[in-house]
Amino acid sequence: MMAIDCKALSADFSTRRSGTTAVLKSVQLRVMTGETFGLIGPSGCGKSTLLRILAGLHTRWRGEVSIFGQTLQPDNYPRNALLSTVQMVFQDPYASLHPRHSVGRALLEPLKVNNIPEPARRLRQALDDVGLPPSIEQRYPHQMSGGQRQRVAIARALLLRPSLLLLDEPTSALDVSVQAEILNLLNQLKARYNMTMLLVSHDAGVIAHMCDRAAVMQDGAMAQLLLREQLAIYGGT
C-alpha cells in the first residue's frame, strides 16, 4: 500500500496586505509503506506546509491526498482513522510543547486519552529511548536546552507508535552525538514497527544516511527525485 499519495496538491496563503500567494503548486508525491523519504529544498519552498497538510494542520489546499488509503479532505481530516497513525515532529520544538505543561504532563496526556495501559511505564520508556533522564519529567519547556526540548518532542511523537512519522528538521537542534543516537533510534523503531518516515532536513549528510529516496523541492513544486544511488554521493563526503 502507498503510505502517502498526493496528486496535483496546491496550497496558498492569503494575507490582508499582500493578497494570495501560492505556496504549493501542483505537487506530486508518492511514498511507499516502510520507506524513509527525504524532502530537500531552499528555505521557504513549502516543505513545512506540505507536512502540515499531511498532519491535518493546514486546511487551505486543493488536489488529491490520501494516507494509507484514507482520503483527506481540506475541511475534513480523517482524525479517527489517522490520529495515532500519523505523528509530526515540528521544526520549532516550542510549537509542539505547551509552555505551562511539564514534560510529564505533556507525555502522559496522549497516553491517557488513548487508554494505553501502564502509562507511567510507557512514559519512562519513551524518555529513556531518546536519552533523557527520568528527572526531566518535572521540567517545563523553558527550563530545558534546545536539544532536550527537541528530544521531548520526538519522545512524544513516538509514544503512540505511529505508522507514519512526519519529521521537520528533527535533529537540527541537536549535537552530532545526540543526533547519531536519535537517528539510530528512529531506524531501530522503524524496523521494529514497520514505520514510514517523511524527513525534512537541510543537512545533506542526514538525508544521505537516512533516506531510500528523496525529492528536491523548488518554489512550491517537486523539481527532482533522487534515488539511493544518487543519495549515496549526495552532499559529497
Binding site: R17, S43, Q143, S172, D175, V176, S177
Partner: protein, 280 residues
C-alpha cells in the same frame, strides 16, 4: 590571541538559585578576540546558558557569577540594569536559539527590527526605514518591502532565523553572540549568512561567538573553538585542528556524523566512560 581580547572572562559559573551545590556551567574561563570563536558541544552542556550569562539574560531561577568579565575597557559583572540596557543589543547582540519563540508574535517584522534600532539611536523615520531594509537585504530576506508587514507566524523557519539576525545586526554590534543562527537554513543561505557575519567581523572588527552543532562549519569559519561537555570546557583548539583533536569527546563529535557511506549502518555514538577514564 591578541594582547587585548574583546572579551575576557574569568571563572564564569551559572548556578540554580535553589541549589547552590553543583554549577550548571563552569567554572569556565575564556577570551574572545576579533574574528570568530566557536562554541560546540553536547546538547544540554551549557552553551546557551553561557551565552545568556554574557548578556545578563539568565532566567530568574538561575544566577551567574564570575571573577572578571571585561569587555573592551568595561567591567560587565558590576553593571546595573540600566547600564546593561545600553550595552545589550547595541554593543553586544544575541541571536537566540528557537527564533520563532524569541520574536514577538504581535509585532510585524519591520516593527521588531525598527524597535531594536530606535532603542539605541536617534534617526529620522525615513532613515530608519532605509537602515531596516538594508539589513534585511544583507541577511538575505527576499522582497523586504513586503516582508516588513508580515507577522512571525507567516514566516518559514529559515526566514524567522534571518529576522532574528537582522535584529541583532541592525545596530552594528562589536560582539555578536549567535546561538545556532543557521540551523534552519539551507546550505546556500547558511554560507551567505555566515559570510556576512565574517565580513562584518573583518570590516568592523566585530567579534563573533558562534554556537553551532555543525562541526565542519565551525572548522571552516572559526579561529578558535571551545568544546563543552556537561557544563565544563573539555577541549579548546584551533578551528582547522578540529579533525585532529585528541580529546575523546571532540573526536567522537567529529566521527559520528552521518553521510551517504553510513546508510544502513548504525552511527557510532559517544561513550561517556571514555571521557571519565581520560579525566581521572
Amino acid at each position: 590571541m591578541a594582547e587585548h581580547p574583546l572579551l575576557h572572562v574569568q571563572q564564569l559559573e551559572v548556578r540554580r538559585r535553589d541549589n547552590r551545590e553543583a554549577p550548571l556551567v563552569g567554572p569556565f574561563s575564556f577570551d574572545i578576540g576579533s574574528g570568530a570563536t566557536g562554541l560546540v558541544g553536547e546538547s544540554g552542556s551549557g552553551k546557551s546558558l553561557t551565552a545568556r550569562a554574557l548578556l545578563n539574560l539568565l532566567p530568574p531561577n538561575l544566577q551567574a557569577h564570575s571573577r572578571q568579565m571585561r569587555f573592551g575597557d568595561r567591567e560587565l559583572s558590576t553593571l546595573n540594569n540600566r547600564e546593561w540596557q545600553a550595552v545589550r543589543g547595541a554593543e553586544i547582540a544575541l541571536v537566540m536559539q528557537d527564533p520563532r519563540h524569541a520574536l514577538n508574535p504581535r509585532l510585524t517584522v519591520g516593527e521588531q527590527i525598527d524597535e531594536a534600532l530606535r532603542l539605541h539611536v536617534r534617526m529620522r523615520t525615513t532613515q530608519r526605514l532605509d537602515r531596516v531594509l538594508q539589513v534585511m537585504d544583507e541577511v538575505g530576506l527576499p522582497q523586504s518591502r513586503q516582508l516588513l508587514k508580515h507577522y512571525p507566524h507567516q514566516l518559514s523557519g529559515g526566514m524567522g532565523q534571518r529576522v532574528m539576525l537582522a535584529i541583532a545586526l541592525v545596530n552594528r554590534p562589536r560582539l555578536l553572540i549567535a546561538d545556532e543562527p543557521t540551523s534552519a537554513l539551507d546550505t546556500g543561505l547558511r554560507n551567505q549568512v555566515l559570510d556576512l557575519m565574517m565580513q562584518l567581523a573583518d570590516t568592523h572588527g566585530m567579534g563573533l561567538l558562534l554556537i553551532s552543532h555543525n562541526l565542519p562549519l565551525v572548522a571552516r569559519y572559526c579561529k578558535q573553538v571551545l568544546v563543552m561537555y556537561r557544563g565544563q570546557c573539555v577541549d579548546r583548539c584551533a578551528g582547522n585542528a578540529l579533525d585532529q583533536a585528541t580529546s575523546p569527546y571532540t573526536q567522537a563529535l567529529w566521527n559520528c556524523r552521518p553521510s551517504g557511506h553510513t546508510f544502513g549502518h548504525p552511527l557510532p555514538v559517544f561513550d561517556p566512560e571514555s571521557i571519565e577514564a581520560n579525566a581521572s
